[in-house]
């Protein structure tokens, strides 16, 4: 009886460990969550207006004049398109398999959606063209093989994968010089981008002390240190000031 119960305890402990280290890309059964907001203080700088007159098929998709969303300040005083990720602190030797679902980079209205995205090594990046005209996608990888490919019509999807951690990797379209995006290729799934409400949520973290970095394409990087127990939720906010 005692032997059986000790086996059960060990088994349960192993199960807990296994679940704790399992990677479910966010919907973890266990693991801590780090959430927060990226605030923006000060007057939002004007984003450059884009003159799309020479690309009428993109121009007609806009009701108000389009701008390059370099500094995307939300109504609630937060900053969008900020990439937040675990920079260090993960247990050594941790292996995180890439999810089967692809990350989508869409070209629509002659802009990249999203402007900042994260992807895991080996995970598929589906690059979509939703515009009925030529875009070329030039990925300026330094640790990953750079590529420069085209999609001349709408409805095309090209899939690429990455092999090395690299952040940030610039992506640009040369036909439309205002189109820019950044990709973060990571070996783990603990990353997120802020959206229209300026918040981010990184889930499934095992217990430990982590350096979390927030990165904005104009305002640069900021770090915060967070310690989690493996089953709690912590908050880490970042603040960027207008320059």
């Amino acid at each position: 009886m005692r032997r059986l119960s000790s086996v059960a305890v060990v088994g349960a402990g192993l199960l807990a460990l296994a679940l704790g280290f399992s990677n479910r890309g966010g919907a973890a059964l266990a693991g801590s969550t780090v959430t927060g907001k990226v605030k923006f203080v000060g007057k939002a700088p004007a984003n450059p207006a884009i003159d799309m007159s020479e690309e009428p098929k993109c121009k007609e998709k806009y009701t108000t004049p389009p701008h390059e969303e370099i500094v995307a300040v939300n109504k609630n005083g937060t900053l969008g398109n900020v990439f937040v990720y675990v920079k260090s602190g993960l247990p050594a030797g941790g292996k995180y398999p890439a999810p089967a679902t692809p990350v989508v980079l869409d070209q629509s209205g002659c802009t990249y959606h999203p402007r900042t995205l994260g992807i895991m090594i080996g995970q598929k990046l589906d690059i979509k063209n939703s515009d009925p005209l030529l875009h070329n996608i030039k990925a300026l990888g330094k640790k990953n093989r750079p590529f420069n490919i085209s999609q001349p019509t709408s409805g095309m999807t090209t899939t690429r994968t990455f092999t090395a951690e690299e952040f940030p990797m610039a992506v640009e379209c040369n036909v439309h010089g205002w189109m820019h995006a950044h990709i973060g290729v990571l070996s783990h799934p603990f990353f997120a981008s802020t959206g229209a409400d300026g918040s981010f949520s990184i889930t499934g973290l095992p217990a430990g002390t982590y350096t979390i970095e927030a990165w904005h394409e104009k305002y640069g990087a900021q770090t915060a240190t967070v310690t989690v127990t493996g089953s709690d939720t912590k908050t880490a906010d970042f603040t960027y000031t207008a320059k």
Binding site: K138, S150, P152
Partner: protein
């Protein structure tokens, strides 16, 4: 190679105990090497044409899925729709395959090898083993170039002219190792070409038989000899430029990088310094062979033989000082535009002399329109158009307007297809019996000729109109431009003619292969020709002759008054002929 074995049953010149591999695979016999080049180059002619068909599809129907396009991988044509980067690879590879692996190999690799010893009365080339190396390095070069289409990110795509910096940087072109493979292939090709040239020059200087003085040599040999000199001097420049480009691509040198003190235009100077003599390499042997075909078909001596020789030499010499006409708007000093214009206009003169002399050959002849003659006359007619269109380009202000348009594409195809390729078809038919001991079918040869002639003109003549409209080269989709949209019906017409043109070549290929097994057995001298090659059985045995012939007259003694036949071979001794004084270096 086994097909040659099946038909080769002539007497051996001397005891031949070579193995199958020595006879047909790693052969040092100039005739076998010539035939190996023939198979290799005809393959690349087909491949180059297939690439052109895809280019024409895209131009006529931009963005529409191509028939059989679904067979291509996603990286080239997803859903059968050609991608712009694939289109540029097609354009680049079409030019590269056709210029180097089709036309150069067909004219020089095949006919310099096959004809020179036979037409000057030699047992073989001066350096048979170097000859074999020349073929196998060409083979390796072709394999590398073909493979470059299938490596990740595909082949190079900066046009066959490979202008730097686009060709030097992966991040500008999107190509990866395929780009380097172009350079490597060209370096190997350069080796092949230079080895060949060494052989042809040495053989012509040293191995002419007794009585074969310089001015009794057939014009095809003169042309091949002068072409070999051009090759020896020009191809190393290309190889050097390709090495510089390779260093730029893999070693991070900055020859062409202005940010580090380099010069983009340097590539153009190097390339065209080779490139212009190259285009004369691509036409002179054809001109030489046309002289054989037209003299034979006219049953008349070549009109102005000496002028013809001097014209070949004149074209070759002037060809060194015209390269800047490819660069009038390149940004080079405009004063060079003036000087290159002068030399370019002058080079029209020796070409004109040749056309008039061919006409003089036909004038008051007794014209026999066998298939080789049809091709020879077509050469004269089509090369004239190509040459005349060149004059528009020579005039710098006009060139400013038509440079890099379809007017240029029309011009180059009139001289390379209307010129060189028609001559090649004629030459293949003419010397087929010498190679394989059988005749190609004459009726189907005429059908092929007429279909090719009609569809070729339908394809390339309208390109002059598109060029005059300003239709630029290497455009994936001309309809992006409002000023070009009205020319789409013309593009469609050209494409349909191009498809029919390519389809017509099936007739030639079937005739070629079928005749090798089932063609009429060739008589000793099927064309009633004067060349030395017809004085030995067909196919010629290893070593060509047991005893080398002696030459008593020039190569074009047709319709000599008082002779019993309308031809008089170079080696036939008449009672009035004296034996030539033997020089120590002459044959044995």
């Amino acid at each position: 190679m086994t097909t040659v074995a099946a038909t080769a049953h002539a007497a051996h010149a001397h005891h031949d105990d070579r193995s199958f591999i020595q006879k047909y695979i790693f052969s040092t016999d100039h005739k076998i090497i010539g035939i190996q080049f023939l198979f290799l180059s005809l393959f690349f002619l087909l491949v180059g044409g297939l690439l052109a068909m895809q280019i024409r599809w895209q131009l006529a129907y931009p963005g529409k899925p191509m028939p059989f396009g679904n067979l291509l991988p996603e990286t080239m044509a997803p859903g059968g729709i050609l991608l712009p980067e694939y289109y540029l690879q097609l354009v680049t590879m079409h030019g590269t395959f056709m210029v180097f692996f089709a036309i150069m190999l067909l004219l020089v690799g095949v006919y310099a090898n096959f004809l020179i010893p036979l037409k000057i009365g030699a047992h073989d080339m001066a350096f048979p083993r170097i000859n074999m190396a020349s073929f196998w390095s060409a083979f390796a070069s072709g394999a590398v170039m073909l493979a470059s289409l299938f490596v990740p990110e595909g082949s190079s795509r900066a046009g066959w002219t490979m202008y730097a910096p686009l060709s030097a940087r992966h991040d500008y072109s999107g190509a990866e190792f395929g780009q380097e493979m172009w350079s490597i292939s060209i370096i190997l090709f350069g080796l092949s070409s230079i080895l060949g040239s060494l052989n042809y020059i040495t053989t012509v200087i040293n191995n002419r038989c007794a009585g074969m003085t310089w001015f009794r040599m057939p014009l095809s040999v003169w042309a091949l000899f002068i072409t070999a000199i051009l090759g020896l001097l020009a191809v190393p420049v290309l190889a050097g430029a390709a090495i510089m480009l390779l260093f730029e691509q893999i070693l991070g040198t900055h020859f062409f990088d202005p940010a580090a003190g380099g010069q983009p235009i340097l590539w153009q100077h190097l390339f065209w310094f080779f490139g212009h003599p190259e285009v004369y390499i691509l036409i002179l042997p054809a001109m030489g062979m046309v002289s054989e075909l037209v003299a034979n078909g006219s049953r008349k001596p070549i009109f102005g033989y000496h002028s013809m020789v001097f014209a070949i030499a004149g074209i070759a010499f002037l060809g060194w000082i015209v390269w800047g006409h490819h660069m009038f708007v390149s940004g080079m000093n405009p004063t060079l535009g003036s000087s290159f214009m002068v030399s370019t206009l002058l080079i029209a003169v020796p070409s004109a002399i040749k056309v008039f002399n061919w006409m003089g050959t036909m004038w008051r002849g007794n014209l026999r329109f066998h298939v080789p003659m049809l091709h020879g006359v077509a050469f004269i007619a089509m090369f004239t158009i190509g040459g005349l269109s060149g004059i528009f380009m020579a005039a710098t202000p006009v060139d400013m307007f038509i440079h890099d348009t379809y007017f240029i594409v029309a011009h180059l195809h009139y001289v390379l297809f209307g010129g060189s390729l028609f001559a090649i078809f004629g030459a293949i038919v003419f010397w087929y019996p010498k190679m394989f001991g059988r005749m190609m079918n004459e009726g189907w040869g005429k059908v092929h000729f007429w279909l090719t002639f009609i569809f070729y003109n339908g394809t390339f003549f309208p390109m002059h109109i598109n060029g005059m409209a300003g239709h630029m080269r290497r455009l994936y989709d001309p309809t992006v431009y409002d000023f070009l949209k009205p020319y789409q019906p013309m593009n469609e017409f050209i494409t349909i003619c191009a498809f029919l043109l390519y389809g017509s070549q099936i007739i030639f290929f079937v005739n070629f292969w079928w005749s090798m097994f089932k063609g009429k057995k060739a008589p000793l001298n099927p064309w009633d020709d004067n060349g030395l090659e017809w004085s030995t059985p067909s196919p010629a045995p290893h070593g060509n002759w047991e005893t080398l012939p002696t030459v008593y007259r020039g190569p074009y003694e047709f319709s000599v008054p008082g002779a019993s036949e309308d031809y008089l071979p170079q080696n036939r001794k008449l009672p009035t002929d004296r034996d030539p004084v033997m020089s120590p270096a002459a044959g044995h």
